[in-house]
Amino acid sequence: MEPAVRTRGLSKDFFGQSVLEDVDFDLRWGEIHALLGENGAGKSTLCSILAGLYHPTRGEMMLAGAPYSPHSPHAALEAGVGMVYQHFRLVEQMTVAENILLGNPDVPVRMTASGLADRAREVMDRHGLWIEPTRYVADLAVGEKQQAEIIRLLNRGVKVLILDEPTAVLTPREAEALFATLRNLADQGQGVILVTHKLREVQQSADTVTVLRSGKKVAHQGVEDTTTHDLARLMIGDDLAPGSGVDASHTTGDKLLELHSVSVVSDAATRPELDDVSLTVRAGQIVGVAGVSGNGQRELAEVITGLRTTTSGTIRLRGEDISSQTIGSRINKGMGFVPEDRLTRGLVLGLEIEDNVLLRSQRDREFSIGPFLRLSAIRQWARRLIDRFDIRGVRKGLPISVLSGGNLQRLILARELSRQPALLVASEPTRGLDVGAAEAVRTTLKTERGRGVGILLFSGDLEEVLGISDEVVVMYEGRIVASRPASEVDVAQVGRWMAGVT
């Protein structure tokens, strides 16, 4: 039997830069085929070509043995190839039924809301899936939206289903439900392509795996014939194995940041956001803050950096009370900040890299004369940062929104660290990054610690907190419930503290 999809020599250039190079890819009917690679490895590009969103620069594609070159997503859909994007192609302001039947030529020209819902029910029964058709998509949980998206594609007669990082937005339970759905579809003979950078998912749910690195195919094999370790090596390359960061020996110095009984109460009726928080960060020390999201970590980071004001208590930076100082003066006194939400608070995506590295430094003598910017100095500085922090994908004249997540994070770190801060507050610096990029960020943090920078690290990844911190503090309901040297605690113990068990 002809394979479902076959590509030969498939390549794609963006703005003269090659993002996909000579990829031969084969998908059989009835299999779940994982497409594995780091961010920026070309997985999404390959899928977007298969789904008709991008056109290949070179190469050819076959669908069920016939030449296939969709000129639009619509043409791909007509041919039976549909993609579930990370950002669902659902119209939030419309109902589930309307979304499922959107663009379906079988829908009668004249229709009513109830007639539409009946049709949608019929479709869902046929595929054994269910979402209440009269609900508005905006009101659905993420997992439900994804199901609606899959139903929509199945209704269009899709035979090859592509899912782009489908579990990135799901809870573990929703992810399990998704994999069950996909297995069921594969058993019905569909071809399923699963894009991911999570090794565990590949092992857990796929039959076959193709690994991409820097736009090239580096492996194609059955999941049974491989191990997680092999896949990690293939994905990242031999040069940078995870966990290879060297733990530089270092000495702990003077007190940098001291919080004394800091409280934040925004509404007297509810519990305080921060309740009597005291902690100390010393030079050359990483203090990791653990806790279930929403227990005051965000407020703590904001109160230290000046985005939020304290209700009571004092914050000292190198002995000086900064509790009521502006963000700008805290920055000038040596504080760096990597915000949790890097895309909206950390960077201006629509601007070029020069403008982004200049943020926070715009008043420095080095870069400005009065109200005028010294553009050549700024440009040179940006180039130095690009080299030093290995920021890839920067194109002159294009906004930084073309960069991948890992490179954006490197850019923020580059900007903050280039100011040589005494103290760095880093919120979730590795969230959403793939293994290699996350490891690079952790290595950078450790290097800075070796140079005497004090780091306050907020992270939802407990292993990360325990792995690189010297001191661990645990937050629960706005309070610090435990504070220990990292060497004296284990995951289970910290987990109990996080859950409020003492």
Binding site: L53, Y54, S72, P73, H74, L77, E78, M83, Y85, H87, F88, R89, L90, V91, E92, Q93, M94, E98, N99, L101, L102, G103, V107, P108, V109, R110, M111, T112, Y136, A138, R152, R156, S401, V402
Partner: protein, 312 residues
């Protein structure tokens, strides 16, 4: 006799509101597709001048109206090409179109011998039903005394409402306006839908403009729309992109605009300049309350946003 005053002012409200009903319902179609057509005022002016020109030449207001509709649809294609294909800023394009439409209509009006501005058209739209039924109590003046364009505008409003919410193409229209990327992924032709509805909106604005010269004023003069196109755009938002609500809003606007006339009938004397700004004040107030009360916004989420498939 206050009943008589009330009924007469409602009748005036209907005729004053009709151009706004037509242009506004058309603008609903355009905006539902995600294109913000601020150029309605200019498009109406094109409809007004071309309709008048043809009518003075042919003595047929129907011919005038048809030409007004076609000319305005063609004129609105400027917006289509710039906003949809070339992805220009729609606010700039719209405002520029008002200025262009105003200038172009004045130029057309200065042509001919004698120029249009000095012609008077004898042929205008007249009531559909004979005079005798106009005096029937209440329904006579309110429902049976109108000219064909008013009845067409009612039909148009009903058709727009039905089309947007009860037809497959209407569903596609809403999808394109809310989320062009999703609509594209579902196989809808985003640009095609936008062009079509820009043209339909333009055509309706042309009819609204034509009504000014072919019935309301039965004459042509420079910039005769006097802000009606802008009012139509505002009322579209006020009516949350629903044509039945727009009809009510437009007639309310007509009633408030003709308040001076009503008050004169009642023998009051209030400066007309003061009365002229009243509709705008009312619109602002109502808008505040409506937007506060709306549970699920009907505003096309991609309004005024050009769509480019390969943007990253």
């Amino acid at each position: 006799m206050n009943d008589w005053v009330l009924i007469q002012s409602l009748v005036v409200a209907v005729s004053t509101g009709t151009p706004v009903v037509l242009a506004g319902s058309g603008a609903i179609l355009t905006q539902r597709s995600g294109v913000l057509d601020l150029g309605v005022e200019g498009t109406m002016l094109i409809g007004a001048v071309t309709g008048f020109w043809v009518t003075t030449a042919t003595d047929s207001p129907f011919a005038g109206l048809v030409v007004a509709v076609l000319a305005a649809a063609v004129f609105s294609m400027i917006q289509g090409v710039l906003a949809v294909s070339l992805r220009a800023n729609q606010v700039v394009v719209g405002v520029a179109l008002v200025i262009f439409g105003s200038g172009l209509s004045s130029f057309i009006g200065s042509q001919g011998d004698p120029p249009l501005a000095r012609r008077f058209s004898g042929a205008i739209f007249t009531p559909v039903y004979p005079e005798s039924v106009h005096d029937w109590p209440a329904v006579g003046p309110l429902l049976l005394s109108h000219d064909p364009v008013v009845y067409m505008s009612w039909a148009f409003v009903a058709v727009v409402q039905w089309y947007v919410f009860r037809t497959r193409t209407g569903m596609h229209l809403r999808a394109v306006g809310h989320d062009p990327a999703s609509a594209d992924a579902a196989g809808l032709r985003v640009s095609g839908m936008r062009y079509l509805h820009v043209a339909l909106g333009g055509a309706a604005a042309g009819a609204g403009g034509g009504y000014l010269t072919l019935r309301l004023f039965s004459d042509w003069f420079d910039d005769m729309t006097a802000g009606m196109g802008w009012i139509a755009v505002i009322l579209v938002i006020l009516a949350s992109w629903r044509s039945l609500r727009l009809l009510v809003a437009a007639y309310a606007f007509g009633a408030i605009s003709s308040l001076g006339f009503t008050l004169q009938l009642l023998g009051w004397n209030i400066p007309t300049e003061l009365l002229a700004i009243l509709p705008f004040l009312v619109v602002y107030l109502v808008m505040v309350f409506v937007s506060a009360a709306e549970r699920r916004s009907q505003m096309p989420a991609a309004l005024a946003e050009p769509y480019f498939r390969e943007s990253r």
